[in-house]
Symmetry: C2
Subunit: 332 residues, 2 copies
């Protein structure tokens, strides 16, 4: 009744922004992400009658009682208990090595680890694909964290979502030189959660349809870039796609501006280094933090420049990592 | 052969971004701006045979030889000389009380004053409407600076542009409480001129068509807001429209990001003051500077807060101003 899973965050190169089905969490677009070996969540789940006196499942993340996206975490645990046919409450203890809810894709590793640990605790066995479908119902992007390396989340076309799953395009050994450097700007939680921001964009942004159609083109370019290890095309496509996503937020009513002054400063630093001949690109998720895309040869120099910026509290350099897996090292 | 004109900058509430005809400068959208009494350009133009030894017209702006948008200024002087049927070179001396080419709409007052002074110097007399058509061919937004108060630039539908002119919706006396406060962030010229940025957006932004169609709705809301002196609707519509314009730039390829870290900080200041109950909104043109929209009752408090921000070098508080006019006080 107790199990522990480890998952890595998956950062999108082609973004997921907008649900065609809110309840099942089905996206308008297929999207592609990288499972990052340095952004890790470890989660222990125990289901037991001894927790049934609690009103809800008990969630502790990084030593704090969790009170954000609470509903989604509770819902996912209820869903899994329902599948297993038990009426039990769970205790969940989770640790991440990076700030949560700051646009660093913490929900991807979080929901992947939570789901696998909860399933294992209740004796449920899934294939990776089916696990990704179950994870998806807790948090969309998290479906990609089930797999390692370069991961495609197929949007699917079926109304029931059974064809909307994660697929490993290439495993973590495919491109050893590939790096993604997360910049830690501040650990303040973002002002609007991704889920709410996404919904507001779908409802109010006049550019939303064009976002969906133009992202299909980006997706083709990204697949081509990955297949050919064409880093320039990969970087340019990732930047274009991320900025287009932020443009839909900025053009929503009311506007959703996740950027802060540091975001702009780091974007300008990337432009400046690139103008100087360094192969450096960026992507930004729903938060102020900027992720740098680069190759191993430039990693040390770029990290040095990043750390020289007063707004950068820290950096986490990642290469391609594994998908979610079980471990016997429990957190309680 | 010598004349001087004064014009006020016109700041758009519904933006002009994108030309349907590059040569005649015809916009995709009708747009609305405010002629601001505090952002002023004075320009003296003299046509004379004594300048004919120069290769080009000689342009001095704020005591500096002008070398930006040079082609457009030269072209406008050639156009006017051509209409008058003379082959003369001009000397132009222009002064502004605010930084040029920093997103403060300096080209609006600049081209309006230049055109009127040049016409007067050569004995050409135009109605305000016809003058606005001539000004438009030098710089699109400048057409609005021909008129005072709230000004509509009709997009027109004719291929020859004869129905694309400025129209005074309400003169400067209509709304005495209305204020627009320009924040001076830095006097650095922007990295990409409006004209080039606009063209790049039309060619590469997948959201451009949606920008055009959604701006038609904003235009109706803005006319309603002005007619009813509904400041809330005016402010909300101006913000939405400005952010939508910047979103098209951000979603262009390569991206055009006029914002800097100060832009974001001031946007957040506006949100914060508004959350505290103050009627404050913003608009941003193609540059980093933010313009604040407010009413007289809040002007002092808002100016105080703006000046407390370390990035704000200065503020210029404007009410509704006059359109372009002649003066006998020459600059040389």
């Amino acid at each position: 009744m107790k199990a522990t899973a480890i998952a890595n965050a998956n950062v999108a190169l082609i973004k997921y922004w907008g649900k065609r089905n809110e309840e099942l969490i089905l996206p308008f677009n297929s999207n592609i992400g990288i499972t990052c070996d340095g952004l890790t969540t470890r989660t222990t789940v125990e289901f037991s009658t001894k927790y049934n006196s609690y009103k809800d499942h008990q969630i502790i993340i990084n030593d704090e009682e969790f009170n954000r996206d609470e509903k989604n975490v509770q819902g996912q645990l209820d869903r899994i208990a329902g599948i297993a046919g038990v009426e039990l409450k769970a205790k969940v203890v989770s640790e991440t090595n990076f700030p949560v809810a700051a646009g660093l894709a913490s929900s991807t590793s979080g929901f992947a680890a939570l789901t696998l640990a909860a399933c294992e605790a209740l004796g449920l066995k899934y294939s990776p694909r089916d696990l990704s479908i179950l994870v998806r119902q807790g948090s969309g992007s998290a479906t990609r964290s089930v797999m390692g390396g370069f991961v495609l989340w197929n949007k699917g076309i079926k109304p029931d979502g059974t064809d909307s799953f994660a697929e490993e395009l290439f495993d973590k050994h495919y491109w050893p030189e590939f790096r993604i450097i997360a910049t830690i700007l501040n650990t303040k939680k973002k002002s609007i959660a991704s889920r709410a921001g996404m919904s507001q964009t779908v409802q109010t942004c006049p550019y939303f349809n064009s976002w969906v159609t133009s992202t299909e083109i980006d997706l083709l370019n990204m697949r081509k870039a990955i297949n050919n290890k064409n880093f320039k095309l990969l970087g340019e496509t990732a930047e274009f796609n991320a900025l287009k996503m932020h443009a839909t937020m900025i053009a929503s009513k009311p506007a959703i501006i996740y950027w802060n002054s540091s975001t702009i400063n780091i974007i300008n630093m990337v432009y400046k280094m690139r103008a100087a001949g360094i192969e450096i690109y960026f992507t930004i998720d729903a938060g102020p933090n900027v992720k740098i895309l680069c190759l191993k040869k430039d990693e040390i120099q770029i990290t040095k420049v990043l750390k020289s910026l007063k707004e950068v509290i820290g950096t986490i350099s990642c290469s391609l990592g594994d998908g979610v897996r079980l471990t016997s090292e429990h957190l309680f």
